[in-house]
Symmetry: C2
Subunit: 303 residues, 2 copies
């Protein structure tokens, strides 16, 4: 199983178009020891021929072009991209679907709730339905393992997360809350496992036990601290209020995952305001000392 990180930033990317925080300003001016990052995007392949996307970021067009394995190889209109697995209906995880609209057949895996939030309330998704069989949806049921193809099995875990803000109140009442946010355990044919959780609203004990069993964790590194957004914007919700356990502080992921020692631990979905994006920051040293890495676009893994 090969996994490529095509994007490692949270929604908005790094830098973010309307942000001049210390990170974004220094990055634009060339004064930051740290890399620009596009919005979180993972791609998987068992045979290096066909590829599966985990979520579909708004930066997907550029991410595909930057990745030669994802370029067409057979015929004039073709793509090695077979389909997409969605972990939520968050805008930064789904907008890229609308970029895959050029008459290419896609297999789409999502919970019933995620599919309904997208298809039933958004006519734009009809761009994926311009010919019979363009998009084929498969329902994902939390805790029920499914296979993308020989050599890629996926175990979806329900996380205690919320529906995105944009979902109308009436729609919410008709949906199953357990289907709002997933983490995925991706398993290769030799039984090695990787955990993908770009949004982690809370860490339950079972989640930690599962993490201990993996070779690789790609985990929500959106915010360094719970009040990070509020400090940059002057107001706003806490990290936990919008579904992200922060990295630092009591109950933060550094502390909570301290006992998880076997897997390689990597933060992904890192917000532009997060000080760990600066390799010269104390915060970056702290996460490195705690055994974590901070994902960058283009990283690859095989297991």
């Amino acid at each position: 199983l090969r996994a490529k990180i095509l994007g490692s930033a949270a929604g908005g990317g790094f830098p973010q178009w309307n942000c001049a925080c210390s990170n974004c300003s220094r990055l634009r001016q060339g004064g930051l020891r740290g890399a620009a990052r596009s919005q979180a995007q993972l791609a998987l392949s068992a045979d290096n021929e066909s590829w599966w996307l985990v979520n579909a970021s708004p930066d997907l067009r550029a991410q595909i072009e930057a990745t030669s394995a994802l370029h067409p190889r057979k015929g004039v209109r073709q793509s090695p991209i077979e389909g997409v697995v969605l972990t939520s209906a968050d805008a930064d995880h789904v907008l890229g679907l609308l970029l895959l609209r050029e008459f290419h057949p896609l297999r789409l895996f999502a919970t019933a709730a995620v599919r309904r939030m997208l298809l039933e309330d958004n006519s734009l998704f009809r761009v994926l339905d311009r010919f019979a069989g363009q998009s084929a949806w498969t329902e994902v049921v939390p805790s029920r393992t499914f296979s993308l193809e020989e050599g890629i099995s996926v175990m979806p875990l329900s996380l205690p997360g919320a529906f995105p803000d944009y979902v109308p109140a009436l729609r919410r009442t008709a949906l199953t809350r357990e289907e709002a946010v997933l983490a995925l355990v991706l398993q290769s044919s030799c039984g090695k496992r990787m955990l993908y959780a770009p949004g982690l609203p809370r860490v339950e004990p079972e989640f930690l036990a599962l993490a201990q069993d993996c070779e690789l964790l790609l985990v929500d590194g959106t915010f360094w601290s719970d009040d990070e957004l509020r400090r940059v914007r002057g107001s706003g919700p806490t990290a936990r209020e919008i579904g992200h356990v922060p990295i630092s502080g009591p109950g933060g992921t550094v502390e909570v995952f301290a006992g998880v020692r076997r897997p390689r631990k990597i933060y992904i979905h890192v917000n532009n305001t997060n000080p760990v994006l600066d390799k010269e920051s104390a915060e970056y040293r702290q996460v490195r000392d705690a055994g974590w890495e901070v994902a960058q676009d283009g990283w690859e893994f095989e297991f």
Copy 2:
């Protein structure tokens, strides 16, 4: 009035993710004399301080980052982007709105039909409505001139175009066809005019008369020939069937605009399959000999 072309390609961009036509393949391999292009996007400013977007392309995040005039300059969360004028509800003209979702106030100008196709049938657009006053919509009425700010007046022209494919049948019946597709005549304070028509379904005599009165035309250069898509994909609609007068052939824009001699004439919204993207092609020479240029990302104009 300053105008910047942030993107010059048609929907899908150049290269297009699932295309290995002669243009796309040679561009990826470095064997094409021609530039990569992001999806059509125009930005306007009268004072070089505040900027207005014409349409909102799916590539907008990268387009903003590539344009220092559009970076934040005043405060930690800020943008010189004041708002957006929409010429249609086509996916490649509107998806970028969903990228401008980071709590930034925006003024949005669209016909009632375009606004309804987006807002009433797509819950995702609620990301632009997360606080009171985040998005302020102004109705555009064909042929009624409006002003974006001192020094930028806009005359919207109804074009004989269709609603996008994704719009449900029931919605179509409730909309005014004349509000589906617009061209814009942009006028500076000194009375100089530019015509922007990235989608041109048909050329009416009044349109030609108006074009003659402008300094600059940015006109639909999507397809070289009427059967271009069919030839690349093996099947599909003609250029005219999907709202684009082709460049070549009888009734094509080279022929139809031959008598329009005053303005600088530039093709924009160029599809990845169009041979004019190759500067060594006979077709490129033909349009240049006919007095046309082919837009590239980053071009700027002042008038």
